[in-house]
Symmetry: C2
Subunit: 423 residues, 2 copies
């Protein structure tokens, strides 16, 4: 890893950024067919270059093993035939989505004789900063291209060879479709100064999407001078209301915590209405215990055998593991107050048969996703019907919730008159 | 003007921001009726406190005259009965608009059994920084309140007394409607350090809207660590294509330049297709000259008697005056290239009867507003049917074009299942 000075890094990103801007102009005008062809061509090229990608991945794995990466990080870095096929399938799935650019988002006529349309346009240039998961190279590029945006990719340093090999295949697709090669660029260095330069590249990069753990996302959110689509943590709550249906509640709580514990939509805190507890007892907690979950319980709940007493820090914590915090509350208002204080604005679910109580929960909370009688594990672009997602955003500017190709667009107004002048 | 230290200023803004966040929680849940009542109450209070507002304005006018403000700035600062009535009418007009919060922006069903709604929510806390135009105090507060946002207002230092008197009336409206007084706050100091503190108040303020000239907007865009909705300049182009209708072209060009020259939607550059010029000659330029416009013409156009030869700096310049740059181009492609190079992304209009040429202009340019056979002077939220506007944005994130109450909202997803779990 050679040492780039800040000036070198800024110059490198300025070069990539300028090329990306130029490419973005062409991409904004590219037909849906052409972008589709580039994605299909890239998928074919990934399959055709399987051996080259695997060879590059061996270099990365050796480098990473020498560096002493953990087994789970090595696993994420490793590619095999089936993971390469999955990347190609991902490109084809994005290709098959409707083209988001040029959609008429709204249109209306005005008494002044004007016809006004609001039409979707690409955002411009997207920077994606991710960890050593080579598949993100293909996934992120596909969504950016579909939405007519140029992209600058900066993967984890251990995956550089793999990412370069995948990038070559993506460029083959672009070339075959007659789109500029600079539509998809990879930062060609492991030097971290390049990340800092990306984060301050105002005017060259329109938005940065970080993909990875809290360390990476936190760094990007703190340092970026460019807008960021991200969530720092997914501290998702499930609230079992006094008017919940017992069987639905049992099913949803168990799924929300245990289906997959490592994803941001996994539940980290269970709030139980005292009314529910008085009627049904320990059943929700017992289900979790039976499934092998460590339940960190507060107050009366801590009397349930098998639970662990909760520490104050267990509330507002993202465990990403078979652990959940649990607490009794006095109805939906206390649940709302708890979530406002401890939530991260990602996803919360209420279990209730009462329309009024659900409406209160939906109105008073302002997380990106609020659910009723559904598992927080559904917080996912695919499950929402958006096709692939580049991430989930908890900010309130522009994109919020799952960020798919549609959310990577802006809009412009097209106004038609017949010689109309303003009086 | 006492001297605030940076620490003092940050503490002041933190205090206002914290109160605003608290108020924003209540506002997000406030019914449309309650917000309506607050706006009507504020309008009534403005009329009722006319004398107090006029008295405060006299203090400001004296202070400003001593400071040596220009006559045009003094005029903007001055209030009289009719301007006070106009403010009250503005509040009533915003009150009469549909409530933008809670609108269902999209909804759909998923094969997994989920029903998904995307629903409009307030952004949170808006900071408005403006010059010494006291009416902005009422206008900006009205749009923020309508869209359920708390607002922190920072007007020009010369207008502080007037703004405080108007602010009192707005607070009366809030109080009568039972909404928190901190929904609308005024920065209670002339010290400029408070502006710097507003611009760096990440986490407290969700978006800053600057209203004023290029100096103010440029400062805000450079310094803000918070998102900004703004346009720096309105360098609007009109392109008369070879397929333009002569009479429509004459009408639109004259209106686009001369109706009002001081607004951002006023045309600053006329591009004439050589085909149009060959057929119709100097007519468009002659109309402008006859109306008293200084035409800074390039190439052959400079041979038209009465024109002034254009300097290179005349292209890409916002004159805001009875001046226009003019140039011949070879068809729509050269017009597009010129606008990409010199435009500010605000508003451009093509004059043509050719659908294909108009489509090319609409597709290849990416200004916030593109028009066909219509005057650029229509670039205005009121003309677009949005009611009042807080400004026009040329960025591509979140809001673009006229920023009305709708554009001051974000959204959240409401997901309903019936015990749905993810497999």
């Amino acid at each position: 890893m050679k040492d780039l000075t800040q000036t070198d890094a800024d110059a490198l990103i300025a070069k990539l950024g300028t090329a990306a801007r130029e490419a973005a102009l062409a991409l904004a005008e590219a037909s849906a067919e052409r972008k589709h062809a580039a994605l299909i061509g890239a998928a074919d090229a990934i399959i055709a270059s399987e051996q080259a990608i695997l060879d590059a991945n061996v270099l990365d794995m050796d480098f990473a093993a020498e560096k002493g990466l953990s087994p789970s990080m090595l696993d994420r870095l490793k590619l095999d035939s089936s993971r390469i096929r999955a990347m190609a399938d991902g490109l084809r799935a994005v290709a098959a989505q409707p083209d988001p650019v040029g959609r008429i988002l709204a249109e209306w006529d005005r008494p002044n004789g004007l016809h006004i349309q609001r039409v979707a346009t690409p955002l411009g240039v997207i920077g994606v900063i991710y960890e050593s998961r080579p598949n993100v190279t293909a996934d992120a590029a596909a969504l950016a291209l579909k939405s007519g945006n140029a992209v600058i990719l900066r993967g984890g340093s251990e995956s550089l060879n793999s990412s370069e090999a995948i990038h070559q295949a993506l460029v083959t697709g672009l070339r075959q479709a007659g789109l500029p090669e600079a539509s998809i660029q990879l930062v060609p260095t492991r030097d971290r100064e390049a990340v800092a330069a990306l984060l301050r590249a105002q005017g060259l990069i329109d938005v940065i999407v970080p993909r990875g753990g809290k360390g990476l996302v936190g760094l990007v959110q703190r340092e970026a001078r460019v807008p960021v689509f991200a969530h720092l943590e997914g501290i998702c709550h499930v609230y079992a209301d006094g008017d919940a249906d017992l069987e639905k509640a049992r099913r949803v709580v168990l799924n929300a915590k245990t289906r997959r514990t490592g994803i941001c939509g996994s539940a980290e805190c269970l709030l139980i209405d005292r009314k529910f507890y008085a009627q049904h007892g320990a059943v929700l907690v017992q289900d979790l215990l039976d499934a092998g979950v460590e339940v960190r319980a507060e107050g009366e709940l801590a009397e349930i055998p098998g639970t662990v007493p909760a520490q104050p820090t267990d509330f507002g914590q993202e465990f990403l593991d078979m652990i959940i915090a649990a607490k009794l509350v006095d109805g939906v208002d206390e649940a709302i107050a708890h979530i406002r204080r401890y939530g991260s604005g990602h996803t919360e679910s209420i279990l209730t048969e009462s329309d009024a109580t659900a409406a209160r929960f939906f109105k008073s909370l302002d997380s990106a996703i609020l659910m009723r009688n559904a598992s927080t594990q559904f917080a996912d672009g695919g499950e929402f019907g958006m096709g692939a997602e580049i991430g989930i955003a908890t900010g309130k500017m522009h994109a919020r919730g799952p960020v798919g190709a549609e959310q990577l667009t802006s809009f412009k107004y097209l106004v038609t008159g017949d010689g109309a002048i303003r009086s």
